[in-house]
Symmetry: D2
Subunit: 343 residues, 4 copies
């Protein structure tokens, strides 16, 4: 590759924003050239604007980048990754797309729009074709591509190898990490020594997004899948890593061994995207795995770990919510776009 | 009541043993006269033998009781509550029953024996009748009565009001407290910032005990119920209080409102047992309840809280695992026995 | 006592406010007649306005009390307990005092005013005499009395028995609970698996308040004590209970045994105030005590526990920050005022 | 370097053992050729014997190494790093030294032996000279070198730049991580929502080891330093990273600014040891830093972070207890030995 693609991050100072910066600061294909944040941060060096919380040194290459306002005029990049809150995303992302940017968004705002791909490279790469339709529809030079909600991604990754058995019904109980709510999203008094059995909008996202992701693209639109997901979402005192317990009812009624084998042999054939993990799904052999503190960093945070596959079919899955479930998912999407010639 | 019944605790120094002591130290019907523990503790004052961990002063009335060896000869009581580990319970409890003691056990060892009641007063009080059969069978002067496993109790309490709708299938994901494994059961490094998706034997207990509890007693034996429970058990970083997420499939397909009403109007008519809570089931109106830290002490730790009743039927339940799920359950059983004339 | 004194709580819905309600809902001398909160809560029943977080049922006697605005006109009480934030307290408390209320404040705003008692009944009960001077100075029908900051109270309770040895220098490192910052004061992401070695203003409060508390009242004013306190304050992942590690340098250079004896024989002779614990200071014999989770509830949360008394003189102390260190401290002050005839 | 030095780890499966493996699996100077553990593990592949807990994949280069018994006969290496428990270390380490191994030990057993260096490369590299004396004394072909206790290392690193001001008295309160006690060292029920103000032997280690470390080597022996350390050690609910609050009394009475400058300009001139961090001491500018979760990984876990430098002189320091405070310290010692020609 002769020249790197210029990329920016919108909402660069927050939790997911910092994960984007981490993923992009030393990327073989992308060069991080723009960091957008609120007007309060604009004009400051990134190291001063962002209260860096990722537990290692802030990457040197970005520490001195001057933070810009979130405005197409001030963002010098070809691709922008959006870690904006949903309401702001709704108005801002189309502005950027209109101005010719490729917008890869982690926000919920545009996910369910008919002409916007809701994509996981390992699951529904063909949905990228919606981009051409979107550009035509909306008369945009740029485009918007989205990744699903964090807990949906973990689920989707594990359902993909099971699709062959005929998905019928999925019950899923999540045990989600605190970081999923953003740095300021959960008070310590609310979650310490506690479980909160409710996360606003989360169950709905899991139940609807999954059907679009597994929908068939017929050349013009995506027809949603017709299996059923019933979710029960809980916040637990864990920093990073969503754990999800599944009951999956399938037409072909596979044995646990067949399911295990499906996970083990799952190969999405992405052919060497930089952020792609060696193993998209890791089957844990330990009887008490996966566990968030031990398994969330597997594959650089991009692998989904599964274990406890047993009659039911029941199993437990685990993925890093701000890497595989957010920033990493979005970066992987853009890598796929680049590979497929969309950028 | 003119005279109190003399009761003892076997395994009095451990986690559940301390809960027994707490429940019995100031009981209107029972007088705590004997505390049994390992030979290492025997001969010491209870305050010295037990490393009291319940967060308040050790009850004065028991601090000076001399700990006895766990042997029918040394235990001066009519009823003994057993907080023994399963293997020790298996040999010890029958010895005590043979010697004429009423043994109320929290251990798993005898629960599934055909002539041993596995009882929750609010759910299957009629199973107490197994006691007469047991005494006759085994030629014992005393008897053994057991309470279910902690997570099973929480589940059973919430399924009882739903029995009327025809239970067919139950999927349940538990988020269980650390204390359920005993004081020394979980290392801090194993659970902090973590979820452990496995608790040895727990899923099997939930899936089998429940069928005996909901079984019909036909005058001679209990015929197990025939609905199906599929459990996924997880340990979370919570001190006390098991949270359980349910999907309950029922023949009559009740609405969430009907289910809620069934919970609200549930009245087991125990008529004033001392350890009975004012409300056996509390329906939480808050959208994010029940929560272990806020709701586990309701009804003195004896109420089960439910919330988030929604289509599915899905709901979340919460109970104090070492009170409602262990010591309190056992004490309530003996209170019922006393009321019904078995003691 | 023929008739109970009518008392109210200002800021009744917050963390400390709820502790006040808990302490006053079933008080032998006081009747809780008014609950003041922000205009957003005013008009609602207390049970609806307050998101009750104390882990047991909200007291029935207060659930239906209608919340009032924080205005002397709407508060029907003789005494008001203030759990207001410092800035609001600064203007509001004098208004109430002017209108004839006895204001017992947990806020920092008025603590260091020369004519306002900063009192702990076990430590400096004679400072109550400032009330007469205050009323005269300010031409108020009512008055303001304050209790110290939570970490200062724990420290002061343990220094009082040591005053006889000639206090010279105190180094103290605190490990403070999350609840000390209020329910919304600390984000989970900020404190989980973490220590925050800074609490705004806390070290200054510990270093200055203590000198006023130990100051001599000469009939007209309090002359601050002249020993020195140097504090290092840290937030740790604990719900309730401040732990404090001390090095105390004293003129008479007492042995650890003499210090221990001074703690054990400490008797403030309060003569039966209702909120007074049986033991104001509990000397822990266990080598690894006191510990917040095990000792914070001692004496109903009003005892301060000390342990690990050793050469240096070093020791560790522990007190419940929102009971002994806040609401309970304030209630005890008013009980003392009542006993001494100020009310 | 033409050929790598063969190194082994004794006690390779435990907490610190795994940190050694992590540090050595991809080392530019050392080749990990032997992993010693209990006979229960011997013969197994390391990946099977060790329950890998470091939150990332087990290094591929070591996964298949066969674990050996801890016996000089079976360990194929020139240098062994010892993560053995103290009692086992006491007999085993001399055996290895006798057989010609360089033993770099993290155990306490031999630290205070007069002819054994207790070394931190940044603090007292000249003490390495004790090795020659030791070999002569003991007629060993090999030798033993030790690193201090984890909390002592963090302290020593921060006291070194202050030595120039004349150290007189140090009071230090530690807030230590759970991992410091080993994987099985602390029960969850003991530390969750809690502080334990006692760690067996820890205060004594801090108070004595520091004086040997800062002692002067006169060519034949180390004469202990004569300042005084008084420690109060506490366990807090943190996974990794010891936080320490200091009061340092110095002859020259430096200002906080002078102390800060001493930290900032501290340069141990180790000249590029592979495990040496870019900055041995990082001065945190944030008012609420250092914090274990955010700062423990700085410099690959080898930097010590300090902050809150203020009158007193008070400051707070933070270091990773199993990297800088254990495995990394030991590896750095051997790197220094190699550089200085001892290996």
């Amino acid at each position: 590759m002769t020249k790197k693609i210029k990329v920016g991050v919108l909402g660069a100072t927050g939790n997911v924003g910092q994960r984007f910066v981490q993923a992009l600061s030393d990327h073989p294909w992308f060069e991080l050239t723009a960091l957008g944040a609120s007007s309060r941060s604009a004009g400051k060096a990134y190291a001063d604007a962002a209260d860096w919380k990722l537990g290692r040194e802030i990457p040197k290459s970005v520490a001195d980048i001057e933070v810009s306002e979130i405005n197409p005029k001030y963002i010098d990049a070809d691709v922008v990754f959006s870690a904006l809150p949903a309401d702001l995303a709704k108005t801002t992302e189309p502005e950027f797309a209109k101005e010719g940017f490729v917008v890869a968004s982690n926000a919920a705002a545009m996910r369910m729009e008919k002409d916007v791909p809701l994509t996981i490279p390992e699951v529904n790469p063909d949905h990228l074709a919606l981009i051409d339709i979107q550009k035509k529809n909306r008369k945009w030079d740029g485009c918007i591509i989205t990744n699903p909600n964090c807990s949906t991604i973990v689920m989707a990754m594990t359902l993909k190898p099971l699709e062959q058995f005929g998905l019928r019904n999925v019950n899923v109980a999540t045990m989600q990490a605190i970081s999923g709510a953003g740095y300021n999203g959960v008070y310590a008094m609310a979650i310490y020594d506690n479980v909160v059995p409710y996360i606003g909008g989360e169950e709905e996202k899991m139940e609807t997004e999954i059907l679009k992701i597994f929908g068939k693209f017929d050349g013009t639109k995506v027809k949603c899948a017709d299996f059923k997901v019933s979710a029960s979402c809980h916040r637990v005192p864990v920093i990073d890593g969503h754990t999800e317990a599944f009951w999956v009812d399938m037409e072909k009624n596979p044995t646990p061994e067949e399911v295990k084998n499906a996970f083990k042999t799952f190969d999405p054939k992405l052919s060497d995207l930089p952020t792609e993990p060696e193993f998209p799904i890791i089957v844990c052999e330990g009887p008490d795995r996966p566990q968030p503190r031990l398994d969330r960093e597997m594959g650089g945070g991009m692998s989904v770990s599964v274990g406890r596959i047993r009659e039911g079919i029941r199993y437990v899955a685990l993925g890093h919510n701000t890497i595989r479930g957010a920033a990493g998912a979005s970066v992987l999407n853009v890598e796929l776009m680049h590979k497929k010639g969309y950028i």
